[in-house]
Symmetry: C2
DNA sequence: TATTGTTATACTCTATAACTATA
DNA sequence: TATAGTTATAGAGTATAACAATA
C-alpha cells in the first residue's frame, strides 16, 4: 500500500479528556518536539503523492543550491550521519536523480550533482513544499511565522544566511 | 557502555566548508528539525548520568501533574502511539516507578500513578531538566526564548495552558 | 459496533564500529 | 595518523494490524 498521508490533525485534543501539561508546557524541547510533529504532519499531507520524505527534499534542495557539494559536507549541514547519507545518496543514484564524481584534488571524497531528472523532480516538489511552508495551517499570522523562523534561525546559529540590510 | 552524551555541539559548522542553505533556510519544518536536534543534544548533555530520554521525562512529568491519568489520554497528549506507550509504561512498571490500576467505571482502561520511587526520580531529574531548558546555551536572550516558546505554543494550539489576563 | 490496551511485525532513523582508499 | 566514504550491525522510535476484554 502506497503510504496514505495522515489527515492534517488539528493537534488540539479531541473533545476527550483534558490534561494539565504543567511545567512541561514551558519546556522548549517539548514544544519543539510537538511543533516538529505538527510540521511533519502538514508536510506529509501537502506532499502526498510525491512519495518524498523531509530528509530527501532537504538533500535535493541543498544539492540544487550547491552543485558539486561534497557528500560529507552535506551530511554535516543536515546533521545526517555519514553512514545514513551513503544509503540515501545510493538510493537517489539508483533512482537516477543524482550522479557522483570523484574530484582530482581529493580522491577520497565524492561530489554530488543533480541530474536533469533530479532537477525536474525537485522543481515539481518545491512549489507545493514552499506553499505548505507558507500557507498558515495554524493560527500564526504571517508576521508571527516570520518571527518564529527568525528566532529558530538564531537558536541554531543559522543567521549567517539571513537577509542583511547593509 | 553507558551511553556517552555528545558534546554540546555549537551547531554552526566547523570551520570546514560553508554551504548555502538557500530557500531551505526559510523552511519552518527544516528549522524545527534542526532546532529539535540542538535541543535534544543539550538535553542529553545536561541529563548525562540520569539515563533518561526525552520521552520518559515528559511521561513522568505528566503523570505527576495528572495523577491517575489514563494511559490512552497520556499517549494522545504526547503523540505517542498506544502500542509504544504500552512498552514504555511496562518498562517503568518493571523499574518500580509507576503502578497501574483499573478503574471501576471503565474496566478496559488503565490509570497510571507514580510510585514514591518514581516521584523521587522525577524530583531528582526535574531540576537539571528545567535548568537545561532555561540556561541559554545559544544566543537567545531570555525575552527571545520566552517569545519563541509562546509562538511554538500557539503553533501547536497549546495556548489553553498559557497565562490569561481576564 | 466501538474502544482500551496488548501483542507482533516491519520499517525508518539513528548510533557505532570496522574497513578501504586516500591524504 | 587522519579523513571520506563504505559496510554491517544493533537499537530506538514509529506505524500498522490483529486480538481480547470491555463498553
Amino acid at each position: 500500500m502506497p503510504r496514505t498521508a495522515p489527515d492534517p490533525q488539528p493537534l488540539p485534543m479531541p473533545g476527550d479528556e483534558a490534561i494539565d501539561f504543567g511545567p512541561l508546557a514551558g519546556s522548549l524541547g517539548f514544544l519543539l518536539r510537538l511543533s516538529q510533529l505538527q510540521s511533519f504532519a502538514n508536510f506529509f499531507h501537502e506532499m502526498d503523492g510525491f512519495n518524498v520524505r523531509p530528509g530527501e527534499i532537504s538533500v535535493l534542495m541543498l544539492m540544487a543550491q550547491n552543485p558539486g557539494v561534497r557528500q560529507g559536507v552535506l551530511a554535516r549541514a543536515l546533521h545526517i550521519k555519514r553512514a545514513h547519507m551513503t544509503k540515501m545518496i545510493r538510493a537517489m543514484e539508483t533512482a537516477g536523480i543524482v550522479t557522483r564524481t570523484v574530484p582530482e584534488d581529493d580522491r577520497r571524497s565524492v561530489e554530488l550533482w543533480l541530474t536533469d531528472k533530479g532537477r525536474k523532480r525537485l522543481m515539481a516538489m518545491q512549489q507545493p513544499f514552499l506553499s505548505h511552508e507558507t500557507r498558515n495551517t495554524t493560527g500564526l499570522t504571517d508576521a508571527e511565522e516570520a518571527q518564529l523562523k527568525a528566532l529558530l534561525r538564531k537558536y541554531i546559529g543559522l543567521d549567517s544566511q539571513g537577509p542583511k540590510e547593509s
